[in-house]
C-alpha cells in the first residue's frame, strides 16, 4: 500500500503521468495514440482510487479531457464535427499535445538543473592560502635599496684615494645637473645600463660622488630605476616610470627652486 503511494507520488501531476505512459509506449509525443493513452490513464486513476489514494483534482480534470478526446476520435472521420467557432487551435487533442511538449521541455530542463546541482555540489572553489610576501626579499631583490647603491658607490670610490680627492676639489667641473643630463642620455640610448658603467670614465672621487647624487636624484624623480636581480649582484639602471610615461618634458618645464642656502 505504502509502496504504491510512493510509486504514485513519483508523478508530479497528470502531465507527468501522461509523459510516463508515452515513454512506456516508446513513441514520439506527436505520434501518440491518444485513445489508447486515455485508456491507460484512466486505468491508473482507477487503480489509485482502489488503493484509496488521494487523487489530486488535476488528475480528474485530465481524465475528463482525455475521455472527451477519446469519444471524439471514436467517431468515423466523416462524422467528426467541428463545433461552430471551434477552430484548429482549440482542438483538444492539439491543446493536450502542445501542453505535453511544453511540459516535457521543462521536465528535461529540470533534469539538467538537477545535474548542475550535483556538479556544483562537487565543485570546490580554489581557496589558496593567503599569499605572503617576504618584505625584505622583494624589496632588496626588485628595487635596489639605498644601501646597495651606497655599497656600489663605495666600491667605486675605493679606486680613488684621499689625496687625489683633495686635489680634485679645486678643479672639479662637474655638477649634478650636468651628470643628470649625461645619465639620462645614456639610459635613453642603451635602455639598460649597469650601475658601474655610469662611473666607468669618472676621473675623480668628486665625479663619482656627483654622479651618484645625480643617480639618486633621477631615481627620486622616477626618471630611472635601479634594480638588482640578486642580493649583492650587479645593479642595473633602466628608464623609470616618469621616463616611460614621457613626463620628462613636463618636469623639465617646472620652475626650479632657488639654489643655495
Amino acid at each position: 500500500m505504502s509502496e504504491y503511494k510512493v510509486k504514485f507520488e513519483v508523478f508530479e501531476g497528470p502531465l507527468d503521468l501522461l509523459l510516463y505512459l508515452i515513454k512506456k509506449e516508446e513513441v514520439d509525443i506527436y505520434e501518440v495514440n491518444l485513445t489508447s493513452l486515455a485508456t491507460q490513464f484512466i486505468d491508473y486513476i482507477e487503480l489509485m482510487r482502489e488503493l484509496d489514494l488521494d487523487i489530486a483534482g488535476e488528475f480528474l480534470v485530465m481524465a475528463a479531457t482525455l475521455m472527451y478526446i477519446k469519444s471524439k476520435e471514436l467517431l468515423p472521420v466523416d462524422q467528426q464535427v467541428t463545433p461552430e467557432g471551434e477552430e484548429d487551435e482549440e482542438d483538444p487533442r492539439w491543446e493536450l499535445i502542445r501542453k505535453l511538449v511544453e511540459y516535457k521541455k521543462f521536465k528535461d530542463a529540470a533534469g539538467k538543473l538537477q545535474a548542475l546541482e550535483t556538479a556544483t555540489e562537487n565543485t570546490f572553489a580554489r581557496l589558496p592560502a593567503k599569499p605572503v610576501f617576504d618584505h625584505t626579499e622583494t624589496e632588496t631583490r626588485q628595487t635596489a635599496s639605498i644601501f646597495e647603491l651606497l655599497n656600489a658607490v663605495n666600491s667605486i670610490l675605493k679606486r680613488f684615494n684621499e689625496r687625489e680627492d683633495l686635489r680634485d676639489i679645486f678643479e672639479d667641473k662637474w655638477t649634478v645637473s650636468e651628470k643628470i643630463e649625461t645619465i639620462l642620455t645614456r639610459v635613453q640610448t642603451s635602455s639598460r645600463l649597469r650601475f658601474t658603467e655610469l662611473f666607468s670614465d669618472a676621473t675623480s672621487r668628486t665625479e663619482v660622488v656627483v654622479t651618484f647624487l645625480a643617480v639618486l636624484e633621477l631615481i627620486r624623480l622616477k626618471q630611472i630605476e635601479a634594480a638588482q636581480s640578486e642580493t649583492f649582484g650587479e645593479i642595473e639602471i633602466t628608464p623609470g616610470v616618469a621616463q616611460t610615461l614621457n613626463h620628462a618634458a613636463e618636469l623639465a618645464a617646472q620652475q626650479p627652486e632657488p639654489v643655495g642656502s
Binding site: 480534470v61 479531457t65 472527451y68 482542438d91 616610470v241
Partner: protein
C-alpha cells in the same frame, strides 16, 4: 605582462570570486603596492577588455583539460576543481555544507521560473498542470526565487524571478548559461499537419468505451469524483 595572465594570477591567488569591476580596481591599484613600470601597465584597462580576457582564459582552461576550470558564477570569476575529483578534495578539505537537494517538483517549478521569468503563479501552474503553492514556498524560502513585480492583469498577481543565489546554486554565470536557454525561453510548439487525421479507424476498436461521455473540466473538482469519471458521465 599580458593582461590575461595578470588577471589569471589575480584570480589564482584570490580568496573569493571576483567580478570584472573588482579586477579593474585591482589593476588600477597595483601601482600603490609596487612602484614599478609593470605595475602601472594595466592601470587603465577597460571593463570590456577585462571581460574578453576572462572569456579567453575560461576557454583556454577548458581546452587545457586539466583538473580545474576558471568559472563564472553569477558574474564573479574563480578557479574551481572539476566535479569528478570531489572524493579527493573532500578528503582534503572535508564535506562542504550544503542545503538538502531540491525535490523534483521544486526543480520543475524552478526551471519554469528560470526560463520564463518574470512569471505569475497561474502561468506556472498552467505549464506544470498542478498547483505550485507548496514548492513556491520552498523556493522563496531558500532564496532561489523572489517576487520581482506585479503583472498587469486582473488582481495584479505577483511576478516571480530567480535570484543571484539561484545562479550560484547551479554554478551558472548568468541566465544565458541555462541549458538550452534559447529554445526554452520561447517555446514555439509547432502544430504538425497530420494531427487532425490521426487514427480515425479507432472508431470501431473499442465500442464498449463509447459509454464514456465527453467530460468538461467541471467534472473533476470533487475528491469523490474519481470513480464516476471512469464509469460514466459527470454527475455535476
Amino acid at each position: 605582462m599580458e593582461l590575461k595572465f595578470v588577471i589569471e594570477s589575480i584570480l589564482f591567488s584570490a580568496q573569493k570570486p571576483l567580478s570584472p569591476a573588482e579586477i579593474r580596481d585591482l589593476l588600477k591599484k597595483a601601482v600603490e603596492f609596487e612602484d614599478s613600470p609593470q605595475a602601472g601597465e594595466h592601470q587603465k584597462t577597460r571593463l570590456e577588455d577585462i571581460e574578453s580576457a576572462l572569456a579567453t582564459l575560461r576557454d583556454e582552461h577548458e581546452q587545457a583539460g586539466r583538473s580545474y576550470r576558471l568559472l563564472n558564477i553569477a558574474g564573479a570569476w574563480q578557479f574551481a576543481s572539476q566535479p569528478e575529483f570531489a572524493p579527493w578534495i573532500k578528503a582534503l578539505v572535508g564535506q562542504k555544507p550544503r542545503p538538502p537537494k531540491l525535490s523534483a517538483p521544486a526543480l520543475e517549478t524552478l526551471a519554469i521560473v528560470a526560463y520564463r521569468q518574470p512569471i505569475t503563479r497561474a502561468e506556472m501552474e498552467q505549464i506544470r498542470g498542478v498547483a505550485v503553492d507548496g514548492v513556491m514556498g520552498t523556493l522563496v524560502e531558500r532564496g532561489l526565487i523572489e517576487q520581482s513585480g506585479k503583472a498587469e492583469a486582473p488582481g495584479r498577481p505577483g511576478l516571480y524571478s530567480t535570484t543571484p543565489l539561484f545562479l550560484e546554486y547551479f554554478g551558472l554565470g548568468g541566465l544565458d548559461d541555462l541549458p538550452d536557454a534559447e529554445e526554452l525561453r520561447r517555446i514555439p510548439v509547432k502544430k504538425p499537419e497530420e494531427l487532425l487525421t490521426v487514427d480515425p479507424g479507432l472508431a470501431t476498436t473499442a465500442p464498449e468505451q463509447l459509454q464514456l461521455a465527453p467530460q468538461e473540466s467541471s467534472g473533476g473538482q470533487g475528491s469523490s469524483a474519481a470513480g464516476k469519471v471512469t464509469e460514466g458521465p459527470s454527475q455535476n
